[in-house]
Point group: C2
Chain length 410, copies 2
């Protein structure tokens, strides 16, 4: 395996991109799917935003440093990574808030259709928001696995307002067929909403080409925008004029400084703006996105598949007989950008690994989850991770009591 890792890294056309990140020495960081590493572009941009733009230019920065335009400008920068032409993507708020407005607006775009579909394996906030919107609008949430959608749509498709799914299962890393799901939902007359939290920045996405209706996603995973970085919302151009979100604020008004008491939405995707966005976090995200400058997403995807494929191969070889099961699909077209193993001691193993500077995470009860950001990881990193995991299991160091006790957050 070491020779193969070296050969793959030597042939990696994207190897130099690692320089765009400030990774601590000696750390193998496989949790970029929870919090991306710090891009080198961020600290100077943020220092300028604080000291010059806020400190010196003060309130004038809303004009002079284009703070006002930041949500649309950063949105378009994300749009370039998800296959969205300009003017359809907006950055701001959290994924939960964007999802709430997207689902609510979808319900209003499809009146008389009482069903809202979501994945029972979907990330919890997506399920909570779906339930919240259904309660407000008098709709019903059906939790339907992606694989069962054809059957459900055949039976009740004309009652479906919107289907909200993630292209990547956040636990297993399984990748769904976005084109097939989008087509099936739309043929039934429903709207397709994708949650791209685990896909944006990790996979080539083609929202416009697939004719997706709505999408949301977060800024802090593969986009590496920093902790709690603003989320994004995509509204296809054809839906913008009728996009009627449940939660409106003055930033989305056609004349925000007219300060009128009645709400008239702005034209375009800007109508989905709500309140004043957290500019410091937003400018950090904008700087982070420059790590993608000039990067061919198809190449990034090829490297990501090489890394996750190599991970699974290393696991086959080095972890054989040690109680692990690979969970992530082997077939490249069914694999997102993470490698997931099942083991009954997942929690303690992930903690013991972290002490060896190999950082992954786990999802209860028994999944070890290793996210792969191909912008800054190498095959050598992957090999070190799996080797360290083997060492930890073999010497039983994860059985020490300090690794067993649960913390609030992992």
């Amino acid at each position: 395996m070491p020779a193969r890792a070296a050969a793959l890294d030597a042939a990696d056309p994207l190897a130099a991109l690692r320089e765009r990140f400030l990774l601590p020495k000696g750390v193998v960081y496989l949790d970029g799917n929870s919090l991306g590493a710090l891009p080198a572009a961020v600290p100077p941009v943020l220092a300028d935003a604080v000291e010059r733009q806020w400190g010196t230019d003060l309130i004038r920065s809303w004009n002079d440093n284009s703070w006002w335009q930041a949500p649309l400008r950063v949105g378009d920068a994300i749009g370039r990574l998800i296959g969205a032409a300009p003017g359809q993507t907006l950055a701001g708020d959290s994924t939960s808030v964007q999802l709430f407005n997207a689902l609510g607006a979808a319900a209003r775009l499809r009146p008389g259709r009482p069903l809202l579909l979501t994945d029972p394996a979907h990330f919890p906030t997506d399920q909570y928001v779906a339930d919240a919107v259904a309660r407000l609008f008098g709709l019903q949430v059906l939790r339907v696995p992606a694989g069962d959608l054809p059957r459900l749509l055949a039976a009740e498709g004309d009652r479906v307002a919107v289907a909200g799914y993630s292209p990547v299962d956040y636990r297993t890393g399984e990748l769904y067929d976005m084109a097939a799901v989008t087509g099936a939902v739309q043929r039934a007359g429903g709207l397709m909403l994708w949650d791209l939290c685990h896909a944006a920045g990790a996979l080539p996405l083609r929202l416009d080409e697939l004719g997706v209706d709505l999408a949301v996603g977060c800024g802090y995973k593969y986009l590496s925008g920093g902790p709690g970085a603003p989320a994004f919302l995509y509204v296809a151009t054809r839906h913008q004029a009728a996009f009627d979100q449940p939660l409106t604020g003055w930033n989305g008004h056609a004349e925000p400084f007219g300060l009128s008491g009645g709400y008239t939405p702005a034209p375009g995707v800007g109508r989905a703006r709500i309140g004043t966005p957290p500019i410091l976090s937003l400018l950090a995200l904008e700087a982070a996105l420059t790590a993608f400058d000039g990067v061919d997403m198809a190449r990034l995807r090829a490297k990501s598949l090489s890394l996750t494929g190599f991970f699974l191969d290393c696991a086959d070889t080095l972890l054989a007989g040690l109680g692990f099961t690979a969970v992530t699909p082997r077939a490249p077209h069914r694999r997102g950008s993470q490698a997931v193993l099942r083991h009954p001691d997942a929690y303690a193993l992930v903690r013991a690994l972290a002490e060896q500077e190999v950082i992954g995470d786990m999802r209860a009860p028994d999944l070890l989850r290793f996210g792969v950001n191909a912008l800054y990881l190498s095959h050598q990193d992957v090999l070190v991770a799996v080797r360290t995991l083997r060492e930890v299991v073999l010497d039983g160091s994860h059985r020490q009591p300090r690794f067993q006790q649960r913390e609030t957050v992992t």
Copy 2:
């Protein structure tokens, strides 16, 4: 006036607090009610948050640097400034989002009461959010000036679910009697929700003592938390167990890392958390709040009134006969922390002033608005501002074409 300014500043017990802010030399900043000046504590804290916490500690910072606790910790720091005992205040999201959840939860706390009261002079987002909540819940918004509340409550009080008001008129600076309004609404059985955007950090507030039900406010005005700093929400302890917000997210779950598909709210005000908060902006706000450390809010209020009173006196003397009318009430108990003048050339005057490094703002069509943050302003600043305004008007420099053309944002 110069001698009086010097004497007042010499006797100012809070003069040294100016050192806590990084104000550009030569600038008189009277727009802290739109964007507070940069506190000196912010840059090093933010650099540490980015470079050490995010860059080096990475995902572990959610535990090791207590990011997870930040919304409640920063909330309690704001609580100390608004008269709220710990465990009732939460920081995060924008004012519009917090207001939406507060009004929606209020409607659910008072079922069967179809009226939602707000001020026709209220900041627009408050009106838009009230309309949005009314539409979702089948309620009716009545726009009732604070002065007319007694009459309305006498006639229809038993139909009022919640009244949402600001203690300070954002245009004129008029201060309402929070105790009287709160009492009147609550005697009718309604809930009182205060929007503290123009009051938090500027006035001593006594939410617990007045028995206020709910409050929201922003972090970027008198709290000086930075552009678009996270907002806050106050939920009185007695309402927390039944607080049932329309927009729920995984951060508000009782067991957020249980990743359950069904929503069980956390105990306490933490249930009002929604999605992952913008940590960088939140930590900047936390650092900014240290500018209030050890500051007696009654003393800050006394200095604020001295500054705005001196402003109005200077205007009487120096601007007499130049077409200005003072709008802010003279009586101290009716005055917030701003001084507002009416003049038909308000827009051009504010722009011409800015070129002389005196920064205020305007509200259409004819109000010049000067916000006073007593943490960093002096009577000398006030005198310079009014003198400069006099010079601009006398030499007519504001009549130059470049000051007439509107920009997007002022």
